[in-house]
Symmetry: C2
């Protein structure tokens, strides 16, 4: 196995020149025992500053130009980090997406990685030089700049780790690792030493903001062990393990939740084959990630079709739904942005009965009404009133004794 | 002749989102009667902000990283300008150096343009879309980002105008045109409606800060008419004409001066063939532009060799001179940074005697001592004490009645 590790540093980790110095020190130490490849985000706040500038010219700037604009943040931080390493006597070179041919689809702002020139990166490594690669960025076949969406640098890092055959991808962030739930909501939330890839996938998808879902999917697909740890404090972080190594799994390993969600219900849709596809096909074509999808049994040949998306996609979804109004007949469109999701995640759950009912009971005893329920083998997701989310997370954390 | 014009906007012209809007209006108006290609600098002050960030990691950052860093300013402004044009209903697309294959040498921070993909730019124009191209940037054959040096966007604009066969290159700036001398020093300095390329070449080289020397050289070499005008006020600016069209030339058309200069004198150099080359060859190899070069007749086989360079190159020149100490024997190296240059420029000068003596007399009567004199057909350059430069410019402007 190679001794290459990929280290990825997020925006807060490189939020100032002092932080960039601190990160250079972490890289220097890692380079003593390993060959290192670095992926870096824009300095914290910089991407938002660029977005503010663009807003002067309208709320919906052209996406090609938007991507060219916001991707500059990573070019800045990668060059500065290379300089910081030079100042510590370490050989390093910054590379943009274009320079390492990080090819993506041309879905601007939500581009998907197609390929990356691993040989070019490995050549740099062989020359005892640390490549500092811009996260978040990509290029189309035609050479236009794209971005991978918010948090895309995680995906960049895992994709590169997969392509160069790295032994591990370390995601440095501002938290110590993965917790049973958000410590800001539940004070005795516990850090996990390891978590399975499956559990992490469910957690990340449900809004555990530590690492991007797509990055975990990539890691899962290409068998890249990922570790999440802090660039601010020492510590081993949480290893997202490839295999389920513990003898016996906890029933519930974590609680995830997400607030910036919006719920669409197509009321009175005809319950005929192809309806779900007619609705979700065009939405997927618009590169919108749909989260919970629920359709219940029909009454009188009519049913209700409900799905949730991220709040930022509200306008696009409404536009898409209007455009398919002729093909998909429905009585009424109900849009509700006053919702939140909370999910119980655990590999142990699939072999154990009663988790769902225990959760429902605890919530009802605390006057939290559940609007939608949706379960998978290792996850139970509930959509509830947004105002009740903190309470719900606390109740469930206590109920499943996650503080222990 | 094509009806394409290239418009270049400098940093102050695009210094804020409001200014970018104003520039978009200028472009929109020009696009009514012409096909337009735009070249843009970074928003005023942005490049300096980036340089400040880099200084945290040492005074002399690696030049490859430095160029990757500072070139992001142009990427930002080009994307924003494209958005501003969209908001006015004009089709536009931003392009970085990499996207239009603006190939340069790999002399980072002082790269020279080798080639540019004119076909790609013309394709965009044919699609009724205005290409907004990043000035200042280039790429090496290997795909690394370079920059052309301060003011390099002028050169980008003229190079593109030459390659696409544009009818004219308009350099938009914060002044109304070319003046007989700096109006800040001489209040009745007069704007010229036109100036010959030769005169402009001498003026630009001597520090008339309106347009970069290399840009004028390019324009001269490829016969591109250039116009300098203001993006803040209406007006026709100053046309830098290809031919000397006026029947009779003014004796002196302008006075240029430059302060950030440094003078090197190699005292007691052997007056043998090849000495000048041995000194200037390595300096030129280090990509340093030497300005005035003076060597006087020898006494006892020894002579003094003097040249001036821009202040920023001081350290590099000293390093080069030390490295050739063995090959070029000299008694002493005298470095003087307390100097300034002032030049009289005029096509009429070559057919008229007495300009030089008239200038020397006026300066001596005003107690300005001339350290070095160096003349060409259309220029007289004098190196004087830096403290006396404003006085010298005023005296000469009055002497040659340039206010009339």
């Amino acid at each position: 196995m190679s001794d290459i590790i990929v280290q990825k540093f997020g925006g807060t980790s490189v939020g100032s020149v002092e932080r960039i110095d601190a990160v250079a020190e972490i890289i220097k130490n890692a380079s003593i025992s390993n060959q290192v490849i670095v992926v870096v985000s824009a300095m914290g706040g910089e991407t938002n500053k660029l977005i503010e500038l663009s807003k002067h010219f309208g709320e919906n700037p052209n996406k090609r130009e938007f991507d060219a604009l916001v991707s500059t943040g990573e070019t800045v931080s990668s060059a500065l980090l290379a300089m910081a390493l030079h100042s510590k006597g370490i050989k390093a070179k910054s590379y943009s997406a274009s320079q390492i041919s990080m090819k993506t689809t041309d879905s601007y702002s939500k581009a998907k990685i197609l390929d990356v020139n691993a040989d070019k990166i490995l050549e740099v490594v062989k020359d005892n030089t640390i490549p500092i690669i811009t996260g978040f960025q990509g290029v189309t076949e035609g050479g236009d700049v794209t971005t991978l969406g918010r948090g895309g640098s995680d995906t960049t890092a895992v994709a590169i780790a997969a392509q160069v055959g790295a032994m591990r991808c370390d995601i440095y962030t501002d938290v110590d690792g993965i917790y049973t739930t958000d410590p800001k909501i539940v004070s005795n939330a516990k850090k996990l030493d390891s978590i399975t890839m499956e559990e992490m996938l469910e957690l990340a998808g449900q809004g555990a903001k530590v690492i991007q879902t797509r990055a975990v999917e990539f890691a899962n697909k290409y068998n890249v062990p990922v570790r999440v740890l802090s660039s601010f404090n020492d510590g081993k972080g949480t290893l997202i393990s490839l295999k389920d190594e513990s003898m016996e799994n906890a029933l519930v390993s974590g609680i995830a939740f997400q607030k910036d969600q919006i719920k669409f219900t197509l009321h009175g849709v005809g319950d005929i084959p192809g309806t779900a596809f007619k609705i979700l096909g065009p939405i997927s074509d618009a590169e919108i990630e749909v989260d919970v999808i629920v359709q219940n049994v029909s009454v009188d040949g009519k049913t209700d079709f409900t799905f949730t998306v991220s709040s930022e996609d509200q306008e696009t979804v409404i536009r898409v739904l209007e455009s398919i109004k002729k093909e998909v007949d429905y009585r009424e469109l109900i849009v509700d942005s006053n919702i939140a999701k909370v999910s119980l995640v655990g590999v142990g759950m699939r072999s154990q009965a009663g988790v769902a009912s225990k959760a429902f009971k605890a919530l009802s005893e605390n006057n939290v009404n559940i609007q939608i329920i949706c379960t998978s083998e290792i996850k139970i997701t509930m959509v509830i009133d947004e105002q009740l989310i903190d309470k719900a997370v606390s109740v469930l954390h206590k109920e499943f004794e996650l503080e222990k």
